[in-house]
Subunit: 370 residues, 2 copies
DNA sequence: TGACGGCAGGCAATCGTTTCCGTATTTTCC
DNA sequence: GGAAAATACGGAAACGATTGCCTGCCGTCA
């Protein structure tokens, strides 16, 4: 039996997927020619009769290159690994949606994994993705003092951060400081002077920066927030519920609460109501991210909209850019921390005079490099 | 230069990932032996001195097999493709979370894609996943009369459905008919006789079955629902808002509304409020799925809990089971439609007398094969 | 002591693609 | 028309694993 005959080629393979060999044979060219022609077919029209035949046959047979084989050879998978704390968090799933669709239009597929915001899971899942030989990683769960990032950089794994930042690494975030300032100014404008802040997880730059921006704006307006009025919590409704309880057990109750996350704000509202307050009337509540239900709540929630979809998309672009750059082993591009502009939407939860749930934005959202 | 020397093996590769060859060389065995030893290492202890050396070296070098190479050879990728309408829908992301974590413990990784509940996207993304040579698909977006499923079956692509069913194909769903009946009985118990239903997308079995179960239970109790009181909508808050408006423009207003999805119910509540009703007081509202914020809303939402995480996990198991079965090209397993038991949680949106938001379940949730 | 079964281990083919390196052919330009 | 440059094409070697087949060693048992 010759090498060829061993493959049950012509008989059984009728149903199997066509390979380059099938196309080459039918077109009467070599496999290498078929490969080259198809590689070029994406950029320009076929440039010879043989090339035309190859393209036509590939078309007819619905040829799809075997990506395992290709990436075995090229060491590239055209897959991006994505880590997020949790996809059930609407904020992260929205970011991921933007990320995935941008990646797709750049010719990459994504694989996503939940890390539950735990360092161990972060490392474990990242290593699983790297075993799959993803071309790069996008981390949505970077922590302040995240040693794993340094390790990745040392191993020269291309990666970018999204949602949270960690200079000097590439990242795309909302301009959280600016967003926090919008809230501080807004609350000060309304005359509040006793303000509590639910600042989220201490290891996340999102919460830290939003809280800090708010404090900064307030201080500039002469409003001081005692440090015991800044409490931490998880980024979900339960966390907000607990945090609001802790915050309000102080007898000198706040007249306003800024929660750095909408779900947290929703939980806080629940707690306030349980405590006999009327959110939006007795006490102002402001959230962050402006998730879609924020404006649909019974008491529509004032919130800072962060461009989540766009953040994901920019992160994908940033990473792909770096990936392509690293191809000619040439100079590195300087790291980029992209901060997208936030926008405040005032609604009844902070300002009962706002007539409707859905207020058009006050400031145009433009991106700025930093 | 001999073949070996051409690889920049010992010098430059110090940093690169170790391959079987590296291990074999260092252990003084052939590559095939190294491969076999490592394959067996997962099940039992090494059975010879050489085997011990191989395992130790692999351990020390943190050897990870190259999955591209392995799957090129074995035609298996240990990846499952997952299609969902949208991950930003908490229902789907919860299902996916259960699915992914079960898949992981079964030794599979998942790749997920949004299809926006569109047939074209469904097909396009599924084909992309199949190009990646995923071992099987899990579809969370099956439609009634979904021709693509028949095509997949004809092409012998292993797949399973989740959330929505489509006999005779493998599926894992909530027992939506039973869930609907719980709601019908509940509303009838409360004395409602004018009931509107927001039944979701007409192409989804979830909405259809939940609505039908409710109608069935009501009919048994002598309550008739005119067909114009059953309206369709998308599965998000906007859809519920619109649908409730349509429903209530009928002058003979309903005293209760069953929305087959919690987000839809939330939107409906918003609309009712805009129309001057007081949901929970004037008009009962019941949702479905019992997403986490349902119980945290200002007027806590009565809802039927469907075991979303478990659904995803069972779907993964079902597919992996089929995958392993199809290995010895032997007999096929009979198709399975697994329906998981739902559970009603009564809260203030339908029954103001329910004292707290969080009512423990009335019936134990057990799985039943069908 | 010799036949035999079991098992460890080596050789080599193979999966499907990309890409280096020649040679053959065409085009370009004087 | 001919030399030079550009291009097309084929052969063959990888990429890193899995696996069928074969050899040789070991122990067992009659």
């Amino acid at each position: 039996m010759g090498g060829r005959a061993v493959r049950d080629h012509d008989a059984v393979r009728a149903t199997a997927r066509p390979t380059l060999r099938d196309i080459a044979e039918e077109a009467g060219v070599s496999i290498s020619t078929a490969s080259r022609v198809l590689a070029r077919a994406r950029t320009g029209p076929p440039r010879s009769a043989a090339a035309e035949r190859v393209v036509a046959i590939a078309e007819r047979l619905h040829y799809q290159p075997d990506l395992s084989a290709a990436s075995l050879r090229t060491r590239r998978t055209r897959m991006l690994g994505v880590l997020v704390p949790r996809l059930t968090d609407i904020v992260l799933s929205t970011i991921y949606e933007g990320l995935d669709s941008a990646a797709e239009s750049l010719g990459y597929q994504t694989v996503v994994a939940n890390t539950l915001d735990s360092s161990e899971e972060q490392r474990r899942r990242a290593e699983m993705l790297l075993t799959r030989r993803v071309d790069g990683l996008i981390l949505g769960d970077a922590r302040i003092d995240d040693a794993y990032l340094d390790e990745l950089a040392a191993r020269r794994v291309p990666f970018a951060l999204v949602s949270r930042s960690h200079p000097p690494y590439d990242s795309v975030t909302c301009d959280d400081l600016a967003g926090g300032r919008l809230v501080g100014d807004h609350l000060a404008d309304l005359g509040h002077r006793r303000i509590g802040i639910i600042a989220g997880e201490p290891h996340a730059t999102t919460g830290r920066d939003r809280a800090q921006g708010c404090l900064e704006a307030l201080r500039r307006r002469g409003v001081d927030v005692p440090s015991s009025w800044v409490v931490h919590s998880t980024f979900d409704a339960e966390g907000g519920y607990d945090a609001a309880h802790r915050l309000m057990q102080d007898s000198t109750a706040a007249t306003a609460i800024f929660a750095v996350n909408d779900m947290t704000a929703i939980g806080a509202i629940g707690a306030l109501r349980d405590l006999g307050h009327r959110p939006g009337t007795d006490i102002a509540v402001v959230g962050f991210n402006d998730i879609s239900i924020a404006g649909q709540l019974p008491v529509p929630l004032t919130s800072v909209r962060s461009p989540l979809t766009q953040m994901g998309a920019e992160a994908a672009r940033l990473l792909v850019d770096r990936l392509q750059l690293s191809r000619p082993e040439a100079r590195e591009r300087a790291p980029v921390q992209l901060r997208l502009a936030p926008q405040l939407f005032v609604r009844a939860s902070s300002d009962p005079s706002s007539t409707e749930g859905w207020t058009p934005g006050l400031r145009a959202g433009t991106a700025s490099r930093a």
